[in-house]
Amino acid sequence: MPSTRTRILAGLVVCVLAAAAVSWAAEADVEQAMKDLPKYEFGQSRAQLTLIQETLRAAEPAKRTDLCNRLAALLSSGATDAAKRWVCRQLSIFGTEAQVPQLAPLLVDEQLSDMARYALERIEHPSAVEAMRKALASAKPGQKIGLINSLGVRRDEKAVDDLVKALQGGDQPTATAAARALAKIGGPKAVEALADMRTKAEGDLLAVVRDAYLQCADGLLAAGKAAQAAEMYQQMYKPDLPKHVRTAALRGIVAAGGEKTMPLLTEILTGNDTEMQASALRFLREVAGPEITKALTDLLPKLPPETQAMMLADLGARGDPAALPAVAKAVASDNEAVKKAAVLALGQLGDASTLPALTALAAGGPCADEARQALDTLPAANVNPAMIEQAKSAEPNVRKEVIRSLGARGVTAAVPVLVQAARADDKAVRQEAFRSLEKLAGSQAVPELVALVVNPKDAEDRPAAQRALATVAGRCPEKEACASAMLAALDAAPADAKAALLQTLPAAGTDKALAALKKCVGSDDEKVRDAAIRSLADWPDPAAAPDLLAIAQTVEKTAHQVLALRGYIRLAGSESLKADQRLQMYKDAMAAAKRPDEKKQVLGGLGGVKAVAALEMVIPALDDAALQKEACAAAVAIAKNLGGQGKPVIVEAMKKVLAISKDKRLNGEAQTLLKKAGG
């Protein structure tokens, strides 16, 4: 009996042999792939190519070089062009200087020149660049352009003389490529050649030469040679040059700085070219520091109105409070565009001291909208407390604007003041107070909101108070507390107030609130009864369903019957109900429905039930001309989600749909479903 040690050793040997076998098998696969590669044609499976590629990716450097050498050898063989192109792609990623000798001759090959460059351009070795440079002399024009492009990408300084010759030669496409390449390489010779060609080139070549010259300037700027770059940019900022070129030059001038910069900017900003002014301001924003704010605010009053407006927008965006005095002064401008721009900028820079000006403007006049926007965006920390103070006691026109803005700004600390304002003498102040309370109030304010519904300053305020209470109760998590406050006031409230309170109960949605609603359905007062039924129909969960069905089945007044039934049908769609519960509710609703509208609503709901029984319920409706459209849509929607169940029912339903529906899309779906169901 072999010892344990022997068994372990034997096991290890087996594992090693198995691993070796797997490795030999994998190697054999790669060898086979290499053998088949020369015959590869486009359209064939690439599985073997992928195998070679994965092997290359995973290989150690020596093994990878060996494999690349074998691939490169194919380039001078009788392998297909498709195979050779694929080889070049691999050498582009995995190749080294070892394969340059095989790639170089292809640089002047009719079919493979571009692919040889595809590989050589990425091989990070001087021999690759040298091969491309040497090929220039014997390359055909199209090949030469490609070589020039690659030498530019590789920033081959040794090629500059050849490139300058190509730039100055008569062939436009070649000269264009040379200009681009010189732009990438840069250096004094390149700059000089491009400067010279700026005076000689025409058409497309001229545009490229100008661009190349600017790129050289960019290169100098990046290398810290700002003065030289600035000189070049100044040469490109000439009135006879296209505007976009001057824009590029201007950007460079601003970036390079220097003593000529501000005079030029002043000239532009006080001139008539609004597009250039906008560009100047944009470039200043990109590159300049806070000291520019002073220069701009000094300049502001001297500018024409349109430019003032642009600069004010820019000062606002810059966000430097040092600009506030100049901006505040501009608010007094006679020019409407300037005034509006200044008001908006105040909204980005201002503080509590700007409130009086803004609230006065917001109260009325041509800048009212801008002033409101500015009030809503004032950034400083002292603004909200100042607004709360003004909301207490300012003159009504100011008070209502401040109250509105407190709501827009989300200042929940203002709620107590807003509650007080909801009883102000001025109607507009009260209305804004309710709107802001609707946005801001929390559960603590509910008792006061209830009081405002029951006993508003003016009966006309009740709808706004009701709306605010309902919204607040709807978002408060403390539902029981909300409901308690509402119910506490309900019994003693007069009919109008009671009706309003009832309509807020669904927002609370508690059992006690529901019980109160149910009780009020039987009220003698028509207003109360009406409000109770409406609110029941809006109830948020299926607890109200039995009562709604009962109302729909028994009530005489059509409006109430319809409301109750619609509410019932809506609740039948609740995700909390099981499918069989929903089905029963739809069945009851269909039986209770007297009008097509509610029957259509039922069909719409049935469309969301994934059950064969739902489809069975829809089928009779397909025979009713008034319901066919909705029934067809419901039938298809249900059938799509039955997952193969109920095939006979699907067949019956889809045949009917196809016989009556005129909707092409629906019919297409019905056809597919019929086929799947075996019809």
């Binding site: 499976s45 595809y118 990070e124 490609g146 545009a207 960019d218 976009h244 824009t247 004032l378 920390a381």
Partner: protein
């Protein structure tokens, strides 16, 4: 290659007063707001380059804008150019009450860019053309709307963004989700700390891609300039599934879903979390690439970024779990932000939100808090920016940042090893092999 020089009314006038009339200029509110359609000289002249599905859709949308005149459409597929021309001319004929035949068609975009009456272009060509067209258009002084992703490689995108900046062009990335209120609101919730400290961002990007059915080359259709369609990418035989709607499953032209919906989803994630994502980041990606004679993009992926600021950002091909998605829309694609006080899910497309705690979605962002750029309509945001020379909601640098991020996920899956990315320098740290994948050599004669 000959190119027609167009002599127009504007070009004549330009000769006389170039400085005053060149380029788009500020249109006063009066000219915009009046009930009557603005006069021809007050309308923005726009051309479409690449007018297939998405590009054609943009052309039709622009017809609704009274302050725009669609002057030309350019497509290497003649049929598409003509189809769009017919729609445009029929529309304007109806507007003016007489036959309008003024929409020109082109095959070569350079002829479009030569036109001085074209103020701006809409780029709807395939992904591998986006950056090159942007560079050309910026250099020609045109404002640009470019569909996402704005690039097909990282360095192409950098060149395009630099060209836009250099020439002060107004640029809008086709990241339409940025103009949805919900997406903006989600970003404001994140940046204002309502989720607490955000520790994880999950991007769910599920997608199924079927086989190409390619069995070999097919004849190039009449009227389709295939060579131009390929542009800077390597020559390969023509097959109908290489081009038009299915180009995006081929890595020569696109990164598949990683850039298709990835550009939308990651864009909103980056917009929302940008101040929190401080690099560099370690990236580990695993991907399965489709095995097909033509298609070769990643169809299953899991890429994890670990930022130096502590945030974990995961992009995967999984669907969002049922408990985080909005039950009304049911979208399983989107972004989940997880913080120590709750989480927030944003569905893409549409921006449906779900959060825990649910009341998070009732938060009102106050005036003193961080507010992201508001844009009620993505196209209108661009058009208005052209007139005011102001910023757009999805500028070039942002589009480049998003596209770069998407390309990183593709590179990480392809290389299948740990990478470290420096966001400021836009390079992999100590990894020449990975850095080589930031760009691709261009086919002659194309170059940036």
């Amino acid at each position: 290659m000959s190119r027609r020089t167009r002599l127009t009314r504007r070009r004549l006038l330009q000769g006389a007063a170039a400085a005053a009339l060149a380029g788009p200029y500020i249109v006063s509110a009066d000219a915009l707001g009046l009930a009557a359609r603005p006069s021809a000289s007050n309308r923005l002249g726009i051309a479409g380059i690449g007018v297939g599905g998405r590009g054609g859709g943009h052309m039709r949308s622009l017809l609704q804008d009274d302050d725009v005149q669609v002057l030309a459409v350019c497509d290497v597929d003649r049929g598409r150019a003509v189809a769009n021309k017919n729609v445009i001319e029929k529309h304007y004929s109806g507007v003016q009450g007489t036959t309008y035949a003024g929409c020109d068609t082109y095959k070569d975009f350079r002829e479009v860019l030569d036109r001085p009456d074209v103020d701006a272009v809409v780029i709807g060509a395939p992904d591998h053309w986006h950056s090159l067209l942007t560079v050309y258009a910026a250099r020609a002084g045109k404002d640009i709307y470019c569909e996402k992703p704005v690039s097909n490689t990282i360095l192409e995108g950098r060149k395009a963004a630099d060209a836009v900046k250099r020439y002060g062009r107004v640029f809008q990335t086709g990241s339409q989700e940025r103009s949805r209120d919900n997406c903006r609101y989600a970003g404001e919730l994140v940046q204002n700390g309502y989720l607490g400290k955000v520790h994880t961002i999950r991007v769910f990007l599920p997608k199924k891609v079927g086989p190409s059915g390619c069995k070999g080359p097919e004849p190039i259709p009449e009227g389709f300039d295939y060579d131009m369609w390929l542009g800077p990418r390597p020559w390969e035989p023509y097959h109908p599934r290489r081009c038009h709607g299915t180009f995006r499953w081929i890595r020569d032209y696109s990164d598949g879903e990683l850039t298709d919906r990835g550009a939308h989803t990651n864009d909103i994630a980056l917009l929302a979390a940008e101040p929190l994502l401080k690099g560099p980041a370690t990236i580990i990606g695993k991907g399965r690439f489709i095995d097909d004679p033509l298609f070769d993009v990643a169809t299953e992926y899991n890429v994890e970024f670990q930022y130096a600021s502590g945030i974990r950002y995961i992009v995967s091909s999984e669907q969002a779990p049922p408990d985080v998605i909005c039950s009304i829309t049911g979208d399983r694609r989107g972004i989940k932000f997880e913080g120590d006080r709750g989480w927030l899910f944003v569905a893409i497309h549409g921006g449906a939100l779900k959060a825990d705690p649910p009341d998070l979605l009732k938060t009102k962002i106050g005036p003193g808090e961080i507010h992201l750029g508001r844009s009620p309509d993505h196209r209108r945001n661009w058009l208005d920016a052209i007139k005011t020379r102001g910023p757009t909601v999805a500028p070039a640098e942002d589009g480049h940042r998003t596209a770069t991020f998407c390309h990183l996920t593709d590179i990480a899956c392809w290389l299948d090893r740990k990478l470290v990315w420096d966001f400021d320098k836009e390079e992999f740290v100590n990894d020449p092999g990975a850095n080589a994948m930031r760009d691709r050599p261009a086919r002659s004669p194309w170059n940036f």
